[in-house]
Symmetry: C2
Subunit: 215 residues, 2 copies
């Protein structure tokens, strides 16, 4: 039972392995963004990293995991910064900022955005778990935003923040899928309209709301 915190010295072999892994990841990022996922060639990525194809697989399991390993952190960072950088504004404005920021992540990788979305939505384990956790983080942040908005009087007191968060995510993914499939020029305004309608509701008016009915 020697479960001591056995401090592993860097070790020459371990650090070499880490270096190789990073080189492969960098080569993969470049190739994926340059020619897209399906057109990217594992042997080409391996050559660019100065290793053999077998080494790439030995490190990352398969091509899809390599994609996720190469790009997950960037998306995660984008999400965290977008959430952290939200202004105090009204809920709809905050969501609009968030939509724009995350959309930008995909827009910045035109050759890759379609596959990126496709493979992250339908990832296998262990990445499915990571993406679920990531979505859970965003979901929680959104629910918190809704609660704050409720406290400001923008939403009714009993509003279900978690359910609202699910609705926003539905709208966002639907719009994003429509965009990558070429069905809409920009998901931002679609999400905005859907969020607005979701907040206002569609039931018969009891009294005309005094809020601006823009758009």
């Amino acid at each position: 039972m020697s479960n001591e915190p056995r401090k592993q010295r860097p070790g020459l072999r371990a650090s070499q392995k880490e270096a190789t892994g990073k080189a492969v990841l960098e080569a993969a990022r470049e190739e994926f963004e340059r020619v897209g996922f399906e057109a990217a060639n594992l042997r080409a990525i391996a050559a660019r990293a100065g290793v053999s194809a077998g080494t790439v697989i030995h490190h990352y399991g398969d091509k899809r995991e390599l994609l996720h390993a190469a790009l997950f952190d960037d998306l995660d960072e984008t999400l965290r910064q977008a959430l952290a950088g939200l202004g105090p504004g009204p809920l709809e404005k905050q969501l609009s900022e968030l939509t724009r920021a995350v959309f930008g992540y995909y827009q910045r990788r035109p050759k890759l955005s379609r596959t990126l979305l496709k493979e992250s939505l339908f990832a296998d384990e262990p990445w499915a778990r990571k993406f679920t956790a990531q979505a859970g983080m965003v979901h929680g942040a959104l629910a918190r935003l809704a609660t704050e908005a409720s406290a400001r009087g923008e939403l009714r007191p009993g509003a279900d923040g978690a359910l609202f968060a699910a609705a926003y995510l539905s709208f966002f993914y639907f719009a994003l899928i429509s965009w990558v499939q070429g069905a809409h020029p920009s998901p931002v305004s679609m999400v905005e309209h859907l969020v607005h309608q979701h907040l206002e509701g569609l039931r018969p008016v009891r009294k005309t709301p005094s809020r601006r009915s823009a758009r």
Copy 2:
């Protein structure tokens, strides 16, 4: 050789081609549903249809197109029947029926539902066009349902039926993706909750609506 119905357009070569095409399609359906998309082997499908692997590709271009060719019509039929069979009930009940019916289509193909959804949402041309058209048909029918509900007084007169349809589709796909990824046991109730919230809205109450706020 007098069994020829007449000098018809088809011609011997054309009708032979159509026969092999159908045989391939049937073999593909069976193999796909039996072992799933990725595990299905083109040479096995070809053998089952009594042709060579090249013939399968010659007919359908690639493996993904074969999947769509094999299963699109079934989904289309499911959708049309679900839409045609909707009762006169209130809008939320109609949507619940629709959700159940379409969900059933995926539920009936456990080995295939994940890939089916994945590949249809992110299809390439020419199938992307067909799926977009199919979604457009459902979208139109949903907008019509909303308009009718509006005429019945369930929704406010100015309600945007098209936007509501987009919201429903967002919820449905989000719930379906969550389901195929194993994140939720059944998409039906999730869609129901989201639709309900969408209809009621989240703005502060001006006057207490007579409906009870479930959940």
